[in-house]
């Protein structure tokens, strides 16, 4: 019997060790190196660089462009969070609990953005938002709403809304899928019991569905914050590169430009470390607030 256990462990190790080794080498080691490079003046090229302690962080706290980008990330978290989660939950409830015949079609429709390349999505939306060529302004002209036409991603007052629209469109499907799985995991007899007790659709949702998908919400929020800081990069970089004039910049795009355009890898890494700390802090606070009280 001991032999069998040893053989099972050996087989287990044979499966796990290669993946673990790759994960350590390509993920954990660079992650650890980040905390060293953020304290250097490395320009991303030379092997001659210097340890400068917390100078990069001192610079960061005095950098207006950094705080401008961070403020935009906060805006994406707040506005994006409300819109994405409310629409994802709404769509998930409709798809799982309504009598719509086209439910499966809507499932696929909302998930399609997740299987498209982010760059292709951004190019398509750049054309949609194009002031002269774009579908959006063309529709407004067709509806005789010419006064509503805008230079959507070239105007500081509209660029945030335009990029938020793209991000929401890309994101809903993923969270909807998580909530669909969560709702379908709720035993049907719970809903039957609620119905027997006279609960209508809204009460069923608020008192049955919503509390039972809380764990999914906690997990989704972690993904969401990571996405609000990291995933938004491709949309901003491809569509506006932070413009016009920094009005749509976010931390990941600013970090990218500091590293590759200005060759300030040490400083860019410090920005990355700041993001790690913020996401960890926010996630920690959120878990603490949503912890079940015994």
């Amino acid at each position: 019997m001991k032999n069998d256990l040893a053989k099972k462990k050996a087989l287990f190790a044979a499966f796990v060790i290669p993946s673990l080794a790759l994960y350590i080498y390509f993920v954990l080691v660079p992650f650890g190196q980040t905390f060293y490079y953020c304290m250097t003046d490395w320009n991303g090229m030379t092997k001659n660089y210097h340890f400068i302690g917390f100078d990069n962080f001192r610079k960061l706290f005095q950098d207006n462009e950094f705080w401008n980008a961070f403020f935009h990330n906060i805006k994406y978290c707040v506005y994006g969070g409300v819109i994405i989660f409310s629409m994802a939950i709404f769509n998930a409830v409709i798809v799982t609990q309504s009598n719509l015949k086209e439910k499966n079609f809507y499932r696929i429709l909302f998930y399609v953005p997740n299987i498209l390349s982010p760059v292709i999505i951004c190019v398509i939306w750049s054309f949609i938002f194009s002031p002269n060529w774009g579908v959006l302004n063309s529709i407004l002209r067709f509806l005789h709403l010419d006064s509503l036409q805008r230079v959507w991603i070239g105007d500081k007052s509209t660029v945030f809304g335009a990029l938020l629209t793209v991000w929401v469109w890309c994101s809903i499907g993923f969270y909807m899928l998580l909530y669909i799985a969560a709702i379908e995991g709720i035993p049907k007899d719970v809903f039957e019991a609620a119905e027997i007790d006279g609960a209508g659709p809204w009460n069923q949702f608020w008192h049955v569905t919503f509390p039972l998908i809380k764990e999914t919400t906690k997990t989704s929020l972690v993904f969401f914050f990571m996405n609000a800081f990291g995933g938004i990069f491709s949309i901003v970089h491809v569509m506006t590169n932070g413009g016009p004039s920094g009005s749509s910049d976010v931390l990941t795009n600013y970090m990218y430009n500091e590293a590759f355009k200005s060759s300030r890898f040490g400083y860019a890494t410090a920005i990355g470390v700041f993001m790690i700390l913020v996401i960890s802090l926010v996630s920690g606070i959120m878990f603490a607030l949503t912890r079940d009280k015994d």
């Binding site: 290669p18 230079v151 413009g243």
Partner: protein
């Protein structure tokens, strides 16, 4: 049996994962040893990493010419538009190419690389080498190919070819409407209403970088002479952005925008959309480099007469200005086949190499350029630039500041956008540029490339 199968599957997984790391094939990479081995050169291999972009097949044709000149040499050439993203990683690895062309210094800053000791000093190539058709490089290369390319007195980028940047227009559109391309800002403002009536936008730039280069930097020189441009963008002198040249440039654009002659919608469009609008005669002029014709090949209507002109602005010295940018070819310090790289540069400088460059919108910066024999290779728009290089009425500003001071370029682009959007006044533009210049000047971590000792 099940266990054996499991072990075999695990092994297959490990082997396939390891094989991923060993794959080196890429559709853009060619490795060939050419034909007969007659007279053997002192090298037998050459590896190139070259950005193609708007140059199309220029580098492939150069490679073919090199192989014809040096048969028996094994040439590995990665020629595509993604190479700029690979340069940094290749230079930091042990697998270093012998000759690299980087187009976008925002992806890889060649000057930073030189400062970091990653590049080879090519002064010996300039001083001692000959072209593949036997002409001494030191005698044929124009000093301007060398002056701006030095870092700490060493020459890291033999700037053999230059691309030029000016304002393109359709001569046929102008002829059909009885217009003449404006020679100064007043003429542009007079012509603008007639253009708008015909549904043609008088003035626009298709990307803020092009606006910074084709309007702001060139405009400084046009109004205040090359000294004004150098003071503001190269020597970072205090007060340069508060001078007459900077104020004139800012006020001229501001007035144009307020008059409705600047297409503000362009800020929300990408450069491809705008270049297509240009081809469809919706834009009177756009700033671009001499690669435009090759880049838009296949999209230019048959009756479109593409021409290039300098920025319609003059000032102190009465000259009009173009912007110029030398192709910065680099040889890494760790390159294994330096003689082969020099030989390739020698092929580029040969008479045959010049013809290839001319076809693709590049002008060799040589004293003995035979304009007559190259005429059949230059497009009509290129010929006007070639003639301009021989003329004393036209000036050229080197776009080098873009690579030297990315922070300054960011400030120019951001403040230019704010000026066009009406968020700042021309005076505020100048003040903000003065502050940005001061910030770059006082930042000791940014290498300076002053014209003279400060």
């Amino acid at each position: 049996m099940k266990k054996l199968l499991s072990i075999l599957l695990v092994s297959a997984m490990v082997v396939s994962l390891a094989a991923c790391g060993l794959q080196t094939s890429s559709p853009a990479v060619s490795t060939e040893a050419s034909g007969e081995e007659s007279e053997k050169p002192a090298f037998d291999k050459l590896e190139l990493l070259m950005f193609t972009g708007g140059y199309g097949d220029m580098w492939q044709e150069m490679v073919d010419l090199f192989k014809k000149t040096y048969p028996g040499v094994e040439v590995t050439a990665e020629l595509n538009s993604e190479t700029d993203d690979k340069v940094r990683a290749r230079l930091m690895s042990d697998d270093v190419p012998d000759l690299i062309y980087v187009s976008d210094s925002t992806k890889f800053n060649q000057f930073e690389a030189a400062q970091s000791g990653m590049l080879r000093d090519m002064s010996d190539f300039i001083e001692n080498d000959v072209t593949s058709d036997g002409r001494k490089v030191s005698e044929i290369l124009n000093p301007s190919a060398i002056d701006n390319m030095k870092v700490g007195g060493k020459l890291y980028f033999p700037g053999i070819f230059s691309e030029y940047f000016g304002w393109f227009y359709n001569e046929k559109l102008y002829q059909d409407n009885g217009w003449e391309f404006p020679k100064n800002w007043e003429e542009l403002n007079k012509l603008a209403p007639a253009m708008l009536e015909k549904g043609v936008e008088p003035f626009v730039y298709q990307h803020v970088i092009y606006g910074a280069r084709g309007y702001v930097m060139t405009g400084l020189a046009a109004v205040g002479g090359e000294d004004a441009y150098r003071a503001a963008c190269i020597d970072l002198e205090e007060g340069a952005w508060n001078g007459e040249a900077a104020h004139t440039v800012a006020n001229n654009l501001n007035d144009l925008v307020k008059s409705g002659y600047f297409m503000t919608e362009a800020l929300g469009m990408d450069f491809t959309q705008l270049q297509v609008d240009f081809m469809n005669n919706k834009l009177a002029m756009i700033p671009c480099g001499t690669w435009l014709e090759k880049e838009m090949e296949g999209y230019i209507p048959e009756d479109f007469k593409l021409r290039i002109a300098p920025l319609p602005m003059t000032g102190k010295d009465g000259k009009h200005y173009y912007s110029a940018d030398q192709n910065k070819l680099i040889v890494p310090e760790a390159a294994k086949n330096v003689e082969a790289a020099k030989a390739f540069l020698g092929v580029m400088l040969s008479k045959e190499g010049q013809k290839i460059a001319a076809k693709y919108g590049n002008i060799p910066i040589v004293n003995d350029m035979d304009t007559e024999s190259l005429k059949e290779y230059f497009s009509d728009s290129m010929l006007s630039i070639v003639e301009a290089t021989q003329s004393n009425d036209l000036g050229f500003v080197n776009n080098i500041a873009y690579a030297w001071y990315p922070d300054l370029m960011d400030a120019i682009m951001n403040n230019l956008t704010d000026l066009v959007l009406g968020e700042i006044t021309p005076d505020e533009f100048c003040t903000k540029m003065e502050e940005a210049t001061k910030s770059v000047r006082e930042d000791s971590s940014i290498a300076k490339y002053y014209t003279y000792e400060h």
